[in-house]
């Protein structure tokens, strides 16, 4: 399959050209080159998608083996790729949204002096992300996994002159490293158990019942730790809000649409494994739920437009993991796709606002922007409606599918997930109304200077808005008729052999549940509209918030807790090692040896004083000794 090579190779070529020659190329060439390589990948992927639709064996994909990567005794890993129904879905999302965000970046980053670097990194990221989803074995996935981590680090710290941004980049990198360790342990266990890392070899062996339950649980827990790190779940989620230090297109592409969903992809890819480990499934579900609610609560009190979206991303990822924990793999993938649409839209919209406000990110400094930025306003509204579950937009269908799966699985989980979804509405509409409605509140930039963004930025917004509206068509619920519904479920069914189709719940129950969610949605809109538009309330200063709000505004003090529990003891330990073991013990040993040598040398130095008479005297004495020795003994 040459097209796999092209899909992967084009972004890599873009990265190499922009990375090596970009400094001397004009910005227009750099930007369009970066965009077109990804767009071309997308077009090719569409062609492959068409081929796959007509392929005879639906569970089989296309394979491409480049070379044998490792061959040590029984350990054999190929540098190979596979393009099946699951990975084509991810590929289309990555390259499709990726090319829109590239286009957007041409205008957004136009002033930046590191323009070519930015596009080189973005292309490298696309390449690595594609490697992650297209790899035919766990090692290839691991390469991509590490590669996207690296790109994420590079792009979060893109404005490296700001020390805070550099810290955020390192935080993301280190927290991801913790997760990666889990993933790596998982890979070791898999290899130890099955002597292979190929999906085609390992996954069937997992499901044939020959592996002990404890082993399956151990492997799946290790892989889930990896997913926790990448997909920002409790306890490894604090890096994602900080990652908003990067340029906004990066937040949209990496920290909302693609990279952070790698954990979901991993779990779906290893469906056979996770399906057989109920303990892990429970852990995933509860961790996802806790993450979802906690992040949503924190999002309620954030005043930085990107921080709100970041916590919203964490919260939505949590919902996806709830779906995974309930065994609703299709629902998770469905929400992954729609979330990629509307969250990319929201981030790009916030980028448009930030661009117009001259890098002001505080929503208290905004207000009334709807008259000045009509395209951004309308698209942002669509994104907000989609994420909060306005009927018949994409988020409505995907979130409902998750909620229904939760309802079937466990009523308590359902209630908590509904609460989380409701809070989503609260913080999203709060942000939306405060930003776009009411009075303009910024005194540094005059309202007249606020302007709509250029077409390179508004075109992706409009396209993503269309996707956010129509995204639900991917997997309409079954009550809308058999011909149009459940497309994604049918598409993914061959890839997910273990997940049985759920017993159909009666449509009446389903309508009731949907009615409840819609009712909550309406209440939320009315409440926030009343508070932030009619009463024109501006979020309080952090210092003035009441005590419960303060806990939320300070993110449950989790960062402080980690600082105290992990960072401070580590720093103390390392300063102990530095001051005592390193400088005193090892340093003392080394300098002690040299001091002894110097002492001995000083003694010897006195003999060699450079005076010929001494030398001669010693020579004669020695000769006399030898002579005498010969004569008398």
């Amino acid at each position: 399959m040459n097209s796999i090579g092209l899909i992967l190779g084009l972004p890599l070529a873009g990265f190499l050209i922009n990375g090596i020659f970009g400094k001397n190329l004009p910005k227009s060439i750099v930007g369009w080159l970066g965009t077109f390589t990804v767009l071309a990948s997308f077009v090719i992927a569409l062609g492959v998608f068409n081929d796959l639709r007509h392929s005879a064996i639906p569970s089989e994909g296309f394979h491409l083996k480049l070379f044998t990567f490792l061959n040590i005794e029984s350990f054999n890993v190929d540098f190979s790729f596979t393009l099946d129904r699951l990975s084509i879905m991810m590929t289309l999302i990555i390259t499709g949204i990726g090319s829109l965000i590239h286009l957007y970046s041409i205008a957004y980053m136009h002033e930046d002096e590191g323009f070519y670097k930015f596009f080189a990194y973005l292309n490298l990221f696309i390449f690595n992300m594609l490697m992650l989803v297209l790899g035919a074995n766990f090692l290839m996935l691991f390469f991509g996994w590490e590669g996207v981590g690296l790109c994420s680090y590079l792009l979060i710290g893109f404005w490296y002159k700001n020390a805070e941004y550099g810290k955020a980049a390192r935080k993301a990198f280190i927290m991801n490293r913790i997760g990666d360790l889990g993933l790596l342990m998982g890979l070791f266990l898999i290899f130890h158990q099955y002597q292979s890392l190929d999906y085609n070899v390992v996954l069937p062996k997992m499901s044939n019942g020959s592996t002990s339950q404890s082993m399956l649980t151990a492997i799946s827990m290790c892989l889930f730790v990896g997913a926790m790190g990448k997909s920002a779940q409790i306890p490894l989620y604090t890096w994602l809000p900080d990652a908003m230090a990067g340029p906004t297109p990066v937040s949209a592409l990496i920290h909302a649409a693609t990279m952070v969903t790698a954990g979901v992809y991993l779990v779906v890819r290893c469906e056979a494994l996770f399906y057989l480990s109920p303990i892990t499934n429970n852990v995933i579900m509860w961790v996802g739920l806790a993450t979802s609610i906690m992040a949503a609560l924190i999002g309620l009190k954030q005043n930085d437009i990107k921080k709100v979206l970041a916590y919203s991303t964490v919260s939505q990822l949590g919902l996806m993991f709830v779906a995974l924990g309930c065994g609703a793999y299709t629902a998770a993938m469905f929400h992954l796709a729609t979330h990629a649409f509307f969250k990319a839209l929201l981030f790009l919209g916030s980028g448009s606002v930030i661009h117009a406000m001259h890098h002001e990110q505080d929503i208290r400094q905004m207000g009334g922007l709807k008259s000045k930025m009509p395209i951004t306003y309308i698209t942002f509204l669509i994104g907000t409606l989609a994420i909060t579950g306005f009927p018949f937009l994409s988020g409505f269908f995907s979130k409902d599918e998750i909620l229904i799966a939760a309802f079937e699985h466990n009523k308590l989980v359902y209630v908590l997930a509904v609460i989380s979804a409701t809070i989503t509405g609260l913080y999203m509409f709060r942000m939306f109304f405060v930003t776009f409605h009411g009075k303009y509140r910024n005194h540094h930039h005059s309202f007249d200077k606020v302007h709509e963004s250029p077409w390179q930025m508004s075109l992706p917004l409009m396209l993503l808005a269309v996707l956010s509206v129509l995204g639900g068509l991917l997997n309409l619920p079954s009550y809308l008729g058999n011909n149009v519904s459940m497309k994604l479920s049918h598409w993914l069914a061959p890839i997910l052999p273990m997940a049985e189709s759920h017993a159909e719940m009666s449509h009446n129950t389903e309508f009731m549940l949907i009615g409840l969610v819609v009712l909550l949605f309406v209440l939320v809109v009315l409440y926030t509209r009343n508070k932030y538009v009619s009463k024109n309330a501006v979020p309080e200063e952090d210092a003035l918030t009441p005590s419960t709000g303060k806990v939320l505004a300070n993110k449950f003090y989790i960062d402080e807790l980690y600082e105290m529990v992990f960072v401070k003891p580590l720093e103390m330990l390392s300063s102990l090692v530095d001051n005592f073991i390193d400088s005193k013990l090892i340093g003392g040993l080394i300098s002690g040896i040299s001091k002894i040598l110097v002492f001995i040398s000083d003694l010897n130095k006195k003999i060699q004083n450079g005076n010929i008479e001494y030398y001669l005297t010693f020579m004669v004495l020695a000769l006399a000794l030898f002579l005498g020795f010969n004569l008398f003994f």
Binding site: G610, N611, I612, E613
Partner: protein, 108 residues
């Protein structure tokens, strides 16, 4: 003339040579003046020369190698004195001294 030398016991030659050599040796070891040093080296060489000649005579007609060696040593001694004095002149020009105890730059 020859008889006179032949009549002297070989042991006397050895004693004389030893005395001369030791005078030279101690001169080299304990005098500071470079010129005296060179003279003492000559003295040691000549002590050896004397011994060579004496042994050669003692051996009679059978072996004249000793006397051959004396000539070689004289040549070497002359060359050595020439080089040594040249070095000495340079040292004197540079330091205005002929005292070897100050020449300790070897230790560096």
């Amino acid at each position: 003339m020859l008889n006179i030398f032949q009549n002297i016991e070989i042991s006397h030659y050895i004693y004389l040579s030893c005395v001369l050599f030791c005078i030279g040796l101690f001169g080299v070891l304990f005098r500071r003046n470079a010129i005296i040093l060179l003279m003492c080296i000559e003295l040691m060489l000549n002590a050896v020369n004397l011994l060579f000649a004496a042994f050669s005579e003692y051996m009679g007609d059978k072996d004249a190698n000793g006397q051959m060696f004396v000539f070689f040593i004289m040549v070497v001694a002359a060359a050595e004195a020439a080089v040594g004095l040249a070095i000495l002149v340079m040292v004197y020009r540079n330091t205005r001294k002929t005292d070897v105890s100050f020449l300790d730059s070897l230790k560096d």
